[in-house]
Structures are given as structure tokens and as C-alpha cells.
């Protein structure tokens, strides 16, 4: 049973998605599965299913979506969005859901750590000696662990 309180919250999520991110039209989904069948993330991890995410939004279960880690498995390749016969902006929707989750402090720990890394070093993953050794072998110059320009720009932005 879904309690009425939760339902309003779910409706709020849908409204939020529509108003703030301009991603509407989920209700026109006819569950053809084109998104799920073409999804590279789904091929690797059966737990991830874009069709299910859209379904849950339609069925007003957005809140439980935000609580799960599945929305973070999307690789943002936009295949589903390109192919959706109903023109639903699936990838944009998932990005919007992630934004909502972060705002509510529900992002998985790894995501926060990675964000911090980008903020402090300007890199998606930390460089260490191992990387430098590999580069040296390939005859490449070593890299600075921090990209100052990126860090500066990110600071200015915030």
C-alpha cells in the first residue's frame, strides 16, 4: 500500500521534473521497450532498466526511484532518447532525477567523492605514480595531478 503522503511527494517530483527541467511527456510512454533493448548499461547490469524508471514515474513511484542507486547507472549515451518513438527525453529525465536526488542528499557516496575530486583536482580520477610510470614507458611526459585552470574555473562558477 502506498500512503497518501507519499503520493503527493511523488506528484511533486513529477511536477518538479516538468517545471524545472522541462522534461514532460512521460505519460505518453507505451512501454515498447526500445529504450531498454538498446541500452548499453542494461546489457552489462540487468538491475538498470530505463523502461522501468519511466514506468515508475508514470505510476507515481518517483520517491522510491530517488532512494535507489539505479538512476546512477545510466551512461548518458542518449541512445534511448534518440530512439524513443514517443519522443520522451529519457536521458534528460534521468539527469534531472539525479539532480533531484543530490539536492535531497540521496546520491551514492562514490558520486560525491568523484564530485569532490573534480572540484579539488579538476580530474575525473586521481593520478598517482603508477600512471606516471605507464606514461614514461610510452615515452609521454608526466602529468600534473591537478589541473589548475579547471579548478579555478569551477571555483569561479560556484
Amino acid at each position: 500500500m502506498v500512503d497518501s503522503n507519499l503520493q503527493t511527494e511523488d506528484r511533486d517530483v513529477l511536477q518538479d521534473l516538468a517545471e524545472r527541467y522541462g522534461v514532460e511527456g512521460v505519460r505518453s510512454c507505451y512501454a515498447c521497450g526500445t529504450c531498454a533493448a538498446g541500452c548499453p548499461a542494461r546489457r552489462v547490469n540487468p538491475a538498470y532498466n530505463p523502461r522501468k524508471i519511466i514506468r515508475m514515474l508514470v505510476l507515481n513511484e518517483a520517491k522510491s526511484l530517488l532512494e535507489k542507486d539505479t538512476i546512477w547507472l545510466c551512461s548518458s549515451c542518449y541512445t534511448c532518447q534518440e530512439r524513443c518513438p514517443q519522443g520522451i527525453k529519457i536521458t534528460d529525465l534521468i539527469t534531472a532525477l539525479r539532480n533531484l536526488a543530490v539536492q535531497q542528499g540521496r546520491s551514492p557516496s562514490g558520486v560525491g567523492m568523484q564530485a569532490n575530486l573534480v572540484r579539488s583536482q579538476g580530474r575525473l580520477y586521481a593520478l598517482d605514480e603508477f600512471d606516471d610510470k605507464k606514461r614514461k614507458k610510452a615515452g609521454l611526459p608526466s602529468l600534473s595531478p591537478q589541473i589548475e585552470e579547471a579548478v579555478r574555473l569551477l571555483k569561479e562558477e560556484s
Partner: protein, 595 residues
């Protein structure tokens, strides 16, 4: 088809193009370009010796390129007339040095390279538009791999393959190795029901076509593994559900979900990835062949024909009928009818039904030899007409002609005029009279309705088909609305002349409402577009004169919207109440001075 070709009272123009069509019901002049065939139609016996001699080989369009033909050919075995034809852009030419082999081969000497295109003018009374369809090209749906993988074919190509008269003699061979596939898949809704690629509508025929194909396959190859990837099976016609159930019972595997990717392996087999939405599992199917059930598009000629005949199209691009329920085969222009996929995607049975109906509707007009026209039509008062051509511009039926250059007065064609009265309303010189809804009649109504206590009245113009019927509906449904509404009926809101509105305000009307059918639902094609423009114009003039434009309202009310009629009237009453006596008397003096 042969019956049509042999019928003494049917003239068949093949290889012909309609250049131009003018006129009206009973008197259409069709200019037809009959392209040269280069073979004498009446003498050719279709022995085929010429084609044997012809050295030019081209893909056969009828078999969708699955077989070849020559430059001199008969398009398909049942073609009418049966005479061969030369595609002159492919022919090497009748030069003994270069070729001319067909001329030598023809014993009856019926090949004539001196033929030229002919222009023919035919006078016809009625027209049936049956220009057919265009199949959807699925190349843009890159996930299905059509044209990338040879063993992915369209339903149309597959149809040629399983046809006994087709290039493979009815064997559904796969294109790469000419072997009968052990497993075969069908993908539904290719280019249909899609907002992003293809068309948004359902193409109507593909479900049953696929079911038919599965039954044919199961009959010949009971062990063949057949899978249908579908979203919804729409088996809504007579006997359709039975066929669908038979197909299921025979073991055809119906999988709900569309493929996401199609890949080819080294044996040219196909790996189809699909989300089975019934089990929520990602499945990979190994198939020998994949058939795409392609949708239907409007024919390429549709737009050209629409302009030529002054017809309407639906947003989908098919021809729009005069009424979706009561006149499903008639065009809005009298004397023109539709049949087949020109009007909407449909199967053979429905096409035959519609064609029978269209010909019956045409005969109904033709058999008498004359046409009874409505008395409600417009008439030009020649002495007043200044030949400006405005009426020609606004007539939705192209019923008015006017020689603007030579300053000859406009002429209304009584057979083509439908009686909306837009011309009469738009004529700047009041030179057009609308019979039964004359300016004098309507002006008198305005005056009579506003004779006593005009400040308490709401003057409303309502069109006969929608708004007036809406008022009626409000009445029979016993919906309450302000009793001080005074309605004047016109055939169309397009009839409401600027002068009527000004006269209303001059006689002390606080507010005026003009109402008609919703945009797109006008019973006179698009006459209410002119209403909309006119009201906008009058409102601007009102603002310039210092009158509040809100006092003139425009509302679209359909015949079924009784409640809406009442609501609009309640809104009008609010507006009326806000107009002060002082404002009315100022308007009256201002307009009287102006007059």
C-alpha cells in the same frame, strides 16, 4: 483491372499525369499529359520477343529490385493494358549502330520511336481521388539495420518473396544465400506510431499483414521458428481476431517489445536484442531473417493534387473528408470524392468499400444530368462591382471568378457556391448579396432586436452549423443562461459583415458577440479564418476610435457545446454589465457622426 480496361464506358489513361484541373461539379476540365509508350497499345500482343532482344538490364520496380527487367517491358503480368512500354531514359535509342534490337524483334512492327507525349483535355462531371500511398523507408531507423544487413527486409519485399508469381517463385528465401530461413522475425510498427521517426498514426494494415504472413509460413513450413516483436496487435476487423488466434495456436511466438539492436554475425545471421516487456528480461534472439512491417505514408502526389483541386489535408498529410462520420467519402468541394489510402491508411476490403461508396456518391450526382443547387448562394450586383478581386481571394470554394485586369465584374458560379457568405461580408463595395441572408434582412434584425432598451441586450451572431446548434443544445438540455441574449443566425460566421457590428454599436448595443465553428471544423472549409481576421481588424478600428475592443467578442462554440454556449453567454453578460450608459451614449454619438 482487366474488366476496367475492357469496359466500353471507361477510358483508362495509363502512364499519364494530371497537369491541371479547372471547373466545378459537372464541368471539370482535366488537362492530362499522356506520356509516350513507344509501343502501339492496340497492336502489341505482349509476346515478349522485344524484351528478350533488349540488352538493357534494370532493377524491376514491381519486385522492389529483387529481380530485373529490360528497358522495354511490361511492369507486371496483370498490367492493364497488356502492351509493353519503353522507358526512354534507359533505352539506348533506335540507332541501328547502337541498338534498335527490339524493332527488329517485333514481328507485328508495333514499336514506334516517333511517338511523342500527348496532351489531352477531358471534360468530367465528378472526380474520385484514389492516388494511393507511399511505403515508409525504414533506413533512418538505424537500430534495425535495414540496407546495412541484407537479411533485413521490408514487409513489402517479403510480400514479393512469398508471392507465387514473385522473383523466388513463392519461396521465402533469404537474400544472402537463397536458402529458406529456419527462423524469422517480424518487427511491428516500423515507421508508425512514432512521434520522432516515421509517422505518429497507426498504419492500420501492418498487424494483419504480419499475421497473414505468419500463417502462410506456418502452412508451408510448420517447423519454422517465427517470432513477432510487437507493441499492440490491432486485430479489430471482421474475422481478424480469429486469424490472430490461429497464428498463436500454430506456435508463432509473439513477444511484446521492440528490438533495440540488430547485429549480423559471420554467417549473415541476425542477433536481435529485445526487452521482453512481459517478463522484463533482456532477450537475444538468433534469427536467419528479419522482416520490418513498414507503415504507410501519403502518396507523393497528394500535395500537388490538393493544391490543384483546392482540397484539405489532415495533419497527417492524407486527404480530409467533408465529415468524418456522415460524409466519409466526400471532399468538402462538391463533386469530388475519395477512395482508398489517399484518404487514410486502410486495407483492401475497406478500400473497396470506400471506392464503391465513392462511385455511388458520384453516380447520385451524375445520373440526373443536372444539379440542384441550394437557393442560399451569393449574387454579384454587377453595377456596383469594381472588379477588385477580393471575393475571389476569400471564397473557400473557388466559386467566384473575376477578370481584374479587364475590369469585368465578378461572376459567382451557382453550382460551386456553398453559401457561406464570406464574399458578401468582405466586399468593400457591398456589391455582393447573399440570398436569404441579405444585408437588409440582417440589418433589420439588428435594428429590431435593439429597438427597446438596447443597453440591456447582448447582440450575438451565431453560425447555423455550430454555434446556433450549440444554443439549441443548451436549450434542449435546459441549461440556464442570461435571458437578454439576442441571437441572429447566419449560415457561417464568415457572413458577419463589419457593417452589422458597427450598426449594432450604433444602435446602442453594449456588447457584440460573433460565434462560429472551431477553427478546423468550419462547415465551409476555412471561412471562419476570415471571420477571425475580420474581428481582429474591427477591434483595432475600435481601439483607434476610443472604444473598448473587449466589447466585441469572438467565440468558437460547437453544436455539442451547449454548456459552453451558456458559459460564453454568462461571460458576455459580465462584460455587458461593465459597460456604462455613458459609454454607450458616447459610442452612439461617435458612430452616428462618423456615418
Amino acid at each position: 483491372m482487366t474488366d476496367v480496361g475492357r469496359h466500353p464506358r471507361i477510358t483508362l489513361y495509363t502512364m499519364s499525369e494530371l497537369l491541371d484541373i479547372k471547373g466545378y461539379v459537372g464541368n471539370f476540365d482535366a488537362r492530362i499529359l499522356k506520356k509516350a509508350r513507344y509501343v502501339k497499345e492496340n497492336e502489341c500482343t505482349a509476346c515478349g520477343e522485344c524484351a528478350k532482344a533488349c540488352p538493357v538490364i534494370r532493377p524491376d520496380e514491381f519486385n522492389l529490385g529483387l529481380s530485373s527487367r529490360k528497358a522495354i517491358y511490361s511492369p507486371f503480368p496483370q498490367a492493364v493494358p497488356s502492351a509493353y512500354a519503353i522507358n526512354i531514359s534507359e533505352c539506348l535509342g533506335n540507332n541501328p549502330v547502337v541498338c534498335g534490337k527490339c524493332v527488329e524483334a517485333c514481328d507485328k512492327k508495333c514499336i514506334d520511336f516517333h511517338m511523342s507525349d500527348q496532351e489531352i483535355v477531358e471534360k468530367v462531371g465528378t472526380i474520385i481521388v484514389a492516388t494511393g500511398l507511399e511505403p515508409y523507408d525504414p533506413t533512418e531507423l538505424d537500430e534495425y539495420g535495414y540496407t546495412r544487413f541484407q537479411n533485413v527486409v521490408t514487409s513489402l519485399e517479403f510480400e514479393r518473396l512469398i508471392n507465387a508469381g514473385g522473383p523466388s517463385g513463392g519461396d521465402p528465401v533469404r537474400p544472402t544465400d537463397k536458402k529458406i530461413p529456419k527462423s524469422i522475425g517480424f518487427v511491428q510498427c516500423v515507421g508508425s506510431r512514432s512521434a520522432s521517426r516515421g509517422a505518429a498514426y497507426c498504419s492500420n494494415i501492418c498487424c494483419m499483414n504480419t499475421i497473414k504472413s505468419t500463417l502462410v509460413l506456418k502452412e508451408h513450413y510448420p517447423d519454422m521458428d517465427i517470432k513477432v516483436f510487437y507493441l499492440d496487435i490491432r486485430a479489430f476487423g471482421k474475422g481478424f481476431e480469429d486469424l490472430y488466434m490461429r497464428s498463436r495456436r500454430l506456435g508463432v511466438n509473439y513477444i511484446r517489445g521492440f528490438p533495440g539492436t540488430v547485429e549480423e554475425d559471420e554467417n549473415k545471421n541476425l542477433r536481435v536484442t529485445v526487452e521482453n516487456t512481459a517478463s522484463s528480461k533482456l532477450e537475444i534472439h538468433e534469427l536467419d531473417m528479419l522482416v520490418l512491417a513498414i507503415g504507410i505514408k501519403p502518396a507523393e502526389s497528394t500535395r500537388k493534387l490538393q493544391e490543384m483541386l483546392g482540397l484539405q489535408l489532415t495533419p497527417d498529410g492524407f486527404f480530409l473528408e467533408a465529415h468524418p462520420k456522415l460524409q466519409p467519402v466526400d471532399a468538402a468541394t462538391r463533386g469530388i470524392f475519395y477512395a482508398g489510402c489517399a484518404e487514410a491508411p486502410k486495407d483492401i476490403k475497406e478500400s473497396v468499400t470506400q471506392a464503391s461508396a465513392a462511385s455511388a456518391r458520384a453516380i447520385r450526382l451524375m445520373h440526373k444530368g443536372h444539379i440542384t443547387s441550394e437557393p442560399i448562394i451569393s449574387e454579384v450586383m454587377e453595377e456596383r462591382c469594381k472588379s477588385c478581386g477580393r471575393c475571389v481571394e476569400v471564397c473557400p470554394y473557388k466559386a467566384i471568378t473575376c477578370d481584374v485586369k479587364n475590369k469585368k465584374p465578378a461572376v459567382v458560379n451557382a453550382a460551386a457556391c456553398a453559401g457561406c457568405g464570406t464574399c458578401a461580408a468582405e466586399c468593400p463595395f457591398d456589391a455582393i448579396e447573399m440570398n436569404h441572408f441579405t444585408s437588409i434582412q440582417i440589418m433589420n434584425q439588428v435594428n429590431a432586436l435593439l429597438e427597446e432598451k438596447p443597453q440591456e441586450k447582448i447582440l450575438a451572431f451565431a453560425c447555423n452549423w455550430c454555434s446556433y446548434a450549440g444554443a439549441d443544445y443548451a436549450g434542449v438540455s435546459r441549461i440556464q443562461y442570461p435571458a437578454n441574449v439576442r441571437v441572429i443566425r447566419t449560415m457561417c460566421s464568415g457572413r458577419v459583415d463589419e457593417d452589422f457590428i458597427w450598426e449594432g454599436f450604433r444602435k446602442g448595443a453594449p456588447v457584440v458577440l460573433v460565434s462560429g465553428c472551431h477553427i478546423g471544423d468550419c462547415h465551409y472549409i476555412n471561412a471562419n479564418h476570415w471571420t477571425e481576421k475580420r474581428i481582429e481588424k474591427v477591434r483595432k478600428k475600435m481601439a483607434k476610435l476610443g472604444l473598448r475592443p473587449e466589447r466585441l467578442q469572438l467565440a468558437w462554440i460547437s453544436a455539442a457545446e451547449g454548456a459552453r454556449f451558456a458559459n460564453v453567454m454568462k461571460e458576455m453578460e459580465k462584460l455587458r454589465a461593465a459597460v456604462t450608459e455613458n459609454e454607450i451614449s458616447q459610442t452612439v454619438t461617435l458612430l452616428k457622426e462618423k456615418k
